[in-house]
């Protein structure tokens, strides 16, 4: 009833090519951003900032990075956490070793470092595809984490590679409250999400998707496979790298190489499966889902055990969590391979026709 595009005629291609061609969507996104930027900082508690909102945004950014590579360019990677690690450690080193290095610049440089490493590990994609490539990305996962543990220089000679990052300060303003860090992360993630959306709706994104859908045909119409794939690796790793830097600087404050394990890579992969492969929105939905699920289960399972009169140990709870995670992944792949983003889209289609679907 309220969600209609009737009467909204596009008279130029520019109008037709907007990110949100439907007016109600534009209003929706403005309201959402206003809520995130203005309302949330006023009302949310420190717990919400530290445990939910900040990690949600950071994971969404990492998922967005993986989605560019896997969802858009079709190259499955199991090493996203390693590229986050590169970002975190690079940002740390730029901060510690260069006097007066602005934080934002060190984040960008960290992303670029991760992009460089990403290109290096993306090189095999020129000769191998599919599973072979997925396994090859594990090489990045294990090798990078090992390097960060074993080369003391990379962690400024701290024991076993643990780094504690300095406080974030931009133009004299100290980001020392959860609220201010949330706003910083939100700004960075919003800007990067917009840039990603622009890339995937232009020639760059079309080249990625062409390579994903049918690489031989893409080559025949003049798309250079090497450049396209490596660009996807670079951009994807840039996003993961910035996410890693934020993870260290705005979320945990102190990180160790083993924190960027294969498990974290899988978690990010799950986010895009659940959220929607090849969807910017999906990266956010998936991150929220995968982040909130364990929090929900942590509360729900003990309550359930009390209800049933069966005492669950904490080990049992974590086992049940693993099972639910695994089952959910399979469930989504079977029932809705395009994830929550597609469900959202279907919901909108229905709403357009509501209340007279026929």
């Amino acid at each position: 009833m309220f969600y209609r595009e009737t009467g909204q005629f596009k008279t130029s291609y520019a109008a037709d090519q907007q990110i949100f061609p439907i007016r109600q969507d534009r209003i929706g996104i403005v309201l959402l951003l206003a809520f995130a930027f203005l309302a949330l900082p006023l009302f949310a508690s420190n717990y919400w900032f530290n445990a939910i909102l900040i990690p949600f945004l950071i994971f969404a950014l990492a998922a967005l990075g993986l989605n560019i590579l896997t969802g858009y360019a079709g190259q499955l990677s199991l090493g996203s956490a390693a590229f986050m690690a590169v970002g975190a450690y690079a940002a740390y080193n730029f901060q510690v070793r260069v006097d007066g290095m602005p934080v934002l610049l060190s984040f960008i440089l960290a992303g670029m470092t991760a992009a460089g490493v990403g290109i290096l590990f993306g090189l095999p994609s020129l000769r191998i595809k599919g599973f072979y490539l997925a396994v090859a990305t594990l090489a990045a996962q294990f090798f990078i984490v090992w390097c960060l543990t074993k080369f003391p220089y990379l962690s400024n000679n701290s024991s076993s590679g643990v780094i504690s990052v300095p406080n974030v300060e931009i133009l004299g303003f100290k980001f020392d409250t959860p609220q201010s860090r949330y706003l910083l992360v939100l700004t960075i993630v919003s800007v990067l999400a917009l840039l990603a959306k622009n890339m995937v709706r232009s020639t760059t994104g079309r080249a990625w998707m062409a390579v994903r859908d049918m690489d031989v045909a893409a080559e025949v119409i003049g798309i250079r496979l090497m450049r396209t794939k490596l660009l996807a690796f670079a951009v994807s790793s840039f996003y993961c790298g910035v996410a890693g830097a934020l993870y260290a600087f705005c979320y945990l404050g102190s990180v160790e190489p083993d924190g960027f394990s294969l498990d974290l890579s899988f978690k990010i992969l799950f986010m895009i499966i659940v959220g929607g492969v090849g969807s910017i929105l999906g990266s956010f939905l998936g991150a929220a889902f995968i982040l909130l699920l364990p929090i929900f289960l942590d509360i729900a399972l003990p309550a359930l055990s009390e209800l049933l009169g069966l005492p669950f140990g904490s080990a049992t709870v974590s086992h049940i969590q693993l099972m639910i995670f695994g089952a959910l992944i399979m469930f989504f792949l079977i029932v809705e391979p395009h994830g929550l983003a597609r469900l959202w889209q279907i919901g909108k289609e229905k709403l357009r026709l509501w209340p007279f679907p026929h």
Partner: protein, 304 residues
Amino acid sequence: MQFFFEVLIGGLLSGVMYSLVALGFVLIFKASGVFNFAQGAMVFFAALSLVGFMEHGAPLWLAFILAFVVMTLFGIATEKFVLRKMVNQPPIALFMATIGLSFFIDGFAPLLWGNEVRALDIGLVDEPIPWILDNWNMVISKFDLFAAGLALALVALLALFFQYTRIGRALRAVADDHQAALSIGIPLQHIWALVWAVAGFVALVAGMLWGSRNGVQFALTFTALKALPVLILGGFTSVPGAIVGGLIIGASEKLAEIYIPPVMAGWFGGNFGGIEGWFPYVMALLFLLVRPEGLFGEKHIDRV
């Protein structure tokens, strides 16, 4: 030089164990085109079931049979509830589903059998063979030799099974072309369930051997990570590839662990141990750059 051979042989013997896990991957991949990341979790599950039945008083042989039954049921359930519902999805989606499956098993197995690390005694001790120690002054473990022998026997058995039985022929037909196999009346779904059962059997043997050596624990699921570089090296569809790949990876990884870290320490200073985690991957990767089809894979020509 003696030491070199000792490490080499130790590496080859443990490489056979990698081959065993890789074999489970190859079987399922050949028959159904599914790259089963959960193979490692299945090793864990099988070993836990074995040890679980033994704790309830079953002798080894009976526990082995019961655990095999469990793995078969599990294989059938996987086929029925997951794979069958994902026909026509791209292989990469199936692969991701098996990552989910692997998480599911990682939670389910300890929930069923308990969480603590357990010893598994199959009547073998990990001690040097005296005869070799006396004559050549090399430490070669009895256990490793036996495990390698068992693994080789299993591989030979499977090869015969595939080559000469009716089911084996049907399996190869399915591997070659699903549709064609279906059209001549081979029951595809039975075959898939069967393959998962066979892969379960392989996992059980692997789990028994690894478990009795290192204890039955969650770490067994990481055996999958050991087998993956073997697969890229040997090719996903080749049984000989899995074996030769396993041997190469096993030997080179152990040699690398001995000889590379001191060199690196000489260059950079510090401790560079623990390269086993990534060395096989990087090696397999470099190999792929030279020969993308793997050791035994066939060159693929894109038809357009």
